[in-house]
Amino acid sequence: METNVSDKVKTWLGVASIPIMVWTAIPLLWILATSLKSTAALADSTQNILGNFWPKHMTLDNYRLIFTGGASDLFVPALWHSIVVCLVSTVISVILATFCAYAIARLDFPGKGVILTTALAVSFFPVIAMVTPLFNLWRQIGLFDTLPGLIIPYLALTLPLSIWTLSAFFQQIPWEMEQAAQVDGATSWQAFRKVIAPLAAPGVFTTAIIAFFTAWNDFVFSSNLTSENARTVPAALAYFTGASQFEQPTGAICAAAVIVTIPVVILVLLFQRRIVSGLTSGAVKG
């Protein structure tokens, strides 16, 4: 596609991409900058440069506060909760969705459309509407403020998405190759392992990343169905306190935000192409 683009257009497009990247990057840099500011610099614009943007003197105090200081009791457990809850719910929903999507892509059975439509409807369900019924049930059966009490509603977020995305992925797999391999004498397990698994794995993996992002992003469930024993990072951010009652937690929030952003940025950097294809294949199909 690139070949029929003239040099002039190339340059022009390159120039046009600069404001896009700047617009995208500024809030990210801003979070980083704020996380490096001292308490004094946060309240006093003369201690910062570039129009109160970047601190003159960078400090890691805020990172110390969230990892070893006063905010560590809130942040470190929340980080673990986030990791555990998001990984478990991602694994469960991707496993379940893999079977489901395999069936949808490969088998002919009535109700395929119902499953896909339900998945779509569920993914549009306003999560806030689930909070009260779940809270009321959870407090009665003892799931309030527990990790499973968060994993279960997270399935409602990740499962429809996984089914949807994986179905689209599996449609594109040339399943005939499995049969061809079997004709060539491979056992079906070999055919699956050597032919189908390598073809399906990228889709499953991509779906897992997207499901993970979705769970990682949740604020509504976590802020309402947990207290300190299962609270995840997004909810913890909203309840941050400074080193004392007199200090705004601005710096600590930004430091924590940087920490939780690093893993997703790494995932994006590593798997950019796959994530793009996963996001778009779930929604738009040719």
Binding site: L13, G14, A16, S17, I20, M21, W23, T24, P27, L28, W30, I31, L42, A43, G51, N52, F53, F99, C100, I104, L107, D108, F109, P110, K112, L116, T118, L120, A121, F125, P126, I128, A129, M130, V131, T132, P133, A156, S167, Q171, N217, F219, V220, N224, P234, L237, A238, I253, C254, A257, V264, V265, L267, V268, L269, V276, L279, V284, K285, G286
Partner: protein, 316 residues
């Protein structure tokens, strides 16, 4: 399992086919069933319970005072100015963010579609806001606009050669608050929009565009007459996805204003009734109303604009 029969024979009779079809049918549901059932359990149950609770006047701190009121909560909610205010606020946010996201998303998609350098960097950077936690984005924009910590006022002060008030309180009024909320939303979700549109753009047959070019069509004519109509499906899906997402907006306004200055959205109203006021009955009624609004929007899109969401996954 029962499907071994299919592999044993090569001659296909009608009876065997239907055998095989029956086997597939059973296997299909066996594989897809668990996911389907769990999906229903974790969502249908709360919906049903919310509908039930919505018929009561029920305050969590006063369980003895629980009273069956039938549809009165719905009546109160739908005739309350606050409900309509949050409704309006929500739809202002939906429309504003959607328009900006469509225009910006389209522009970014078109750049991404043709750009040679920095192709990969651009695609990666654009993807990052999508993957950022919404709450983080909310805090970033909150701190950026706050009088004490922010840089907005300082930058605007410089760009307007000192005309902008350094102490302008963005969160002091409804429209300025909504501006920042929308900015955060737009920043966070435009990448997703542009990726959906990019996928649509990739489907546009470039030879048609070339042909139009040869015929002397201007860039705008080509965009309007060739590109847009050919990616209409992708466009509508993107609009539907974003609309339904934006109707549920909660995180950004919660973090930034907490609903002050008439910036409360429908989701925040539900949360406020159920969580702050512990008026579970009324909150559930509002939750059901919000769900119905989402259903209506989806219905309008699917029926009115003929958005085909499942088409591509069938019949291969």
């Amino acid at each position: 399992m029962t499907t071994d029969s299919a592999a044993t024979g090569t001659t296909r009779t009608k009876a065997r086919l239907s055998d095989r079809a029956r086997g597939e049918r059973a296997l299909g549901w066996r594989l897809a069933g668990p996911a389907f059932v769990i999906m229903l359990l974790v969502t249908l149950y709360p919906i049903a319970y919310a509908v039930y609770l919505s018929l009561f006047n029920y305050r969590l701190t006063d369980p003895a005072g629980r009273k069956f009121v039938f549809l009165r909560n719905y009546l109160t909610a739908l005739t309350d100015p606050l409900f309509w205010q949050t409704f309006t606020t929500t739809f202002i946010i939906v429309v504003v963010t959607l328009v900006f996201e469509l225009v910006l998303g389209m522009a970014i998609a078109m750049v991404m579609n043709k750009v040679v350098w920095p192709r990969k960097t651009l695609r990666t950077i654009v993807l990052i806001p999508y993957s950022i936690i919404t709450v983080v984005s909310g805090f970033a924009w909150l701190f950026a606009a706050q009088v004490s910590t922010g840089f907005f006022n300082h930058w605007l002060h410089v760009f307007t050669f000192g005309a902008w008030n350094l102490e302008y309180d963005w969160f002091g009024g409804r429209w300025s608050s909504l501006t920042i909320i929308c900015l955060s939303e737009i920043w966070k979700t435009t990448p997703f929009m542009s990726l959906l549109l990019l996928a649509g753009l990739a489907q546009v047959d470039s030879s048609m565009e070339e042909a139009a070019k040869v015929d002397g069509a201007t860039w705008w004519q080509r965009f309007y007459k060739v590109i847009l109509p050919n990616m209409k499906a992708a466009l509508m899906v993107a609009v539907l996805f974003r609309t339904l997402d934006a109707v549920r907006i909660y995180d950004n306004p919660y973090i930034m204003t907490g609903g002050a200055n008439k910036t409360m959205t429908l989701s925040m109203l539900v949360a406020n009734e159920t969580i702050n006021r512990v008026e579970i009955g009324m909150g559930s009624a509002l939750a059901v109303i919000l769900f119905i609004i989402v259903l209506i929007i989806a219905f309008i899109f699917v029926r009115g604009f003929k958005v085909d969401l499942t088409g591509g996954t069938r019949g291969r």
